[in-house]
């Protein structure tokens, strides 16, 4: 418990988590609204002919943005400790490195989850206020998942960021690897001739996006679910599995090497 308390104080006594939190919510809501408003006006003008629909998940199109900020925030939570050598002070105060890593994961995962819920429901709520001529009520279990699931996806995302940060111990390296992988690597791998389609479901951020029905490869109305090897919950379970494996490797490595 005391380790958790220490990590909580540590996280919130610098400015960057506050900035990241703000950025997460603002970006998610901001981009969600831009997307919602343009889509809504298009559908209003052209009717059902356009390949877009306006629904609950239209309000959630900014989520991937927030996920990127969460990745950076989580990676920074550990790389800055290495940069400023406070990791040595930390391990001096708490020699059990596994418990340090677990506490960090819990704190940052919890923060990410809360931010995910805030951002998702804020997007949805603001969307309902701004766009009244479409039905944005959350009714089905799928719609609940698409909105309330953001917290879970953000928490898993945070664990991945933390693990990669702990492995690289280097801010720029971790941030570059994470962002380029999530935003470019998975896209390009999915576009590899023939095999790309088969690999795509097993790319972690794609799986996470599938759970929420958002992300660069997802779209309201796009029938993505049909030929996938898993359903939405399978997708998020796989995403979580990747995070857990990465995290275990990170814990192992952190325990092995010199602080």
């Amino acid at each position: 418990m005391s380790v958790l308390g220490a990590e909580r104080i540590k996280l919130f006594s610098t400015k960057s988590p506050w900035w990241s939190s703000l950025a997460t919510v603002v970006f998610v809501v901001g981009f969600g609204m831009i997307f919602l408003l343009t889509t809504a006006s298009l559908v209003r003008e052209d009717g059902p002919a356009v390949p877009f629909r306006v629904g609950v998940s239209t309000t959630q199109q900014g989520i991937f943005f927030g996920q990127m900020v969460i990745l950076v925030m989580a990676a920074l939570a550990i790389t800055t400790e290495y940069r400023f050598n406070t990791i040595k002070t930390t391990f001096q105060a708490i020699p059990g490195r596994t418990s340090v890593m677990l506490s960090k994961a819990l704190i940052i995962g919890l923060l990410a989850a809360v931010l995910g819920e805030i951002a998702a429901f804020a997007s949805w709520g603001l969307g309902r206020l701004l766009v009244t001529d479409f039905d944005l009520t959350i009714r089905t279990a799928d719609q609940w998942r698409q909105v309330a699931g953001a917290g879970l996806v953000f928490a898993i995302t945070a664990i991945i960021g933390l693990a990669v940060g702990a492995l690289t111990r280097h801010t720029a390296g971790a941030v570059t690897a994470l962002l380029v992988w999530a935003m470019l690597g998975e896209q390009l791998i999915g576009a590899i001739p023939r095999v790309g389609d088969k690999i795509q479901p097993w790319l972690p951020f794609n799986a996470g996006g599938h759970f929420l029905g958002v992300g660069p490869n997802q779209n309201e109305g796009a029938q993505t679910g049909t030929d996938l090897p898993y359903n939405a919950w399978g997708a998020v379970a796989y995403f979580a599995g990747v995070a857990v494996v990465l995290f275990l490797v990170a814990v192992l490595v952190v325990n092995r090497r010199d602080a």
Partner: protein, 249 residues
């Protein structure tokens, strides 16, 4: 000239540029090999597909260029630099010049290495550089890397914070531009004027597009696209120089 030498020494005496160059080359070429290897009759290799992965290299180069300034701020060496050479405009221009030149060279190496990989792995494919467009597809990569580096130096100097600058650049280049171009209707209109989109338009316009890329008519020709991208970078650089001259080091 001395300033250029100074910046060159500074850049190469730290490890991160080497890491970045290595990563840019390795990831891009590795991915090109992957694509070429999986290609076949249904997805033939073209000059453009060999450059499909150049975006990886570009992202790493953006990071390298931003780091070239943000690390100076982080370690306070920027003060030593401005103390040694009080003319900040000259310092920033020299730094930008050196970084851009390096980026350009890395770009050419990456591009021709990727093209070479295609040639070696698929000797039967038509990978000859016959037309001006073919040359642009390959050699243009270096130009884009160089201009991208200028933009990244500008962003790095303005933000002065590694994680912030890197996140801003990558999220902008990879996500914001994609999402904005994907907006219904307006997306198509904005798309040509998003700087990194313009850069890839410059590289890709004409010829057979790689799988997945949609062809949209553009308000400019390829060189116009590059001119626009360069214009944005130059504007960024000017703003940066003004700001750097005003504020405390």
């Amino acid at each position: 000239m001395t300033l250029l030498a100074v910046e060159r020494i500074k850049l190469f005496s730290t490890r991160s540029p080497w890491w970045c160059m290595l990563a840019a080359l390795a990831v891009t070429c590795g991915f090109t090999a992957l694509i070429t290897g999986t290609s076949g009759d249904d997805y033939p290799v073209s000059v453009q597909t060999t450059q499909f992965a150049s975006n990886f290299g570009l992202m790493v180069i953006l990071v390298m260029a931003a780091l070239a300034v943000t690390t100076e701020y982080r370690f306070g060496t920027i003060r030593a630099t401005f103390q040694a050479v009080p003319n900040r405009t000259a310092v920033l221009l020299a730094k930008t010049g050196v970084v851009a030149l390096l980026a350009g060279v890395v770009g050419e190496v990456v591009a021709f290495a990727s093209w070479g990989i295609g040639k070696v792995m698929r000797p039967s494919a038509d990978l000859a550089l016959n037309s001006a467009a073919d040359w642009r597809h390959v050699a243009g990569v270096g130009l884009v890397f160089a201009v991208g580096a200028v933009l990244a130096v500008a962003v790095g100097t303005l933000v002065r914070h590694t994680a912030g600058a890197v996140t801003l650049l990558l999220v902008w280049a990879l996500l914001v531009e994609t999402l904005l171009s994907a907006l219904p209707t307006v997306g198509e209109k904005i798309q040509p004027w998003l700087p990194f989109n313009a850069a890839s338009n410059f590289m890709l316009m004409g010829g057979t597009p790689p799988p997945g890329a949609s062809v949209v008519s553009q308000p400019y020709g390829p060189w116009g696209a590059l001119a626009y991208f360069t214009g944005v970078a130059a504007a960024g650089l000017v703003i940066t120089i003004v700001v750097a001259n005003r504020r405390d080091a």
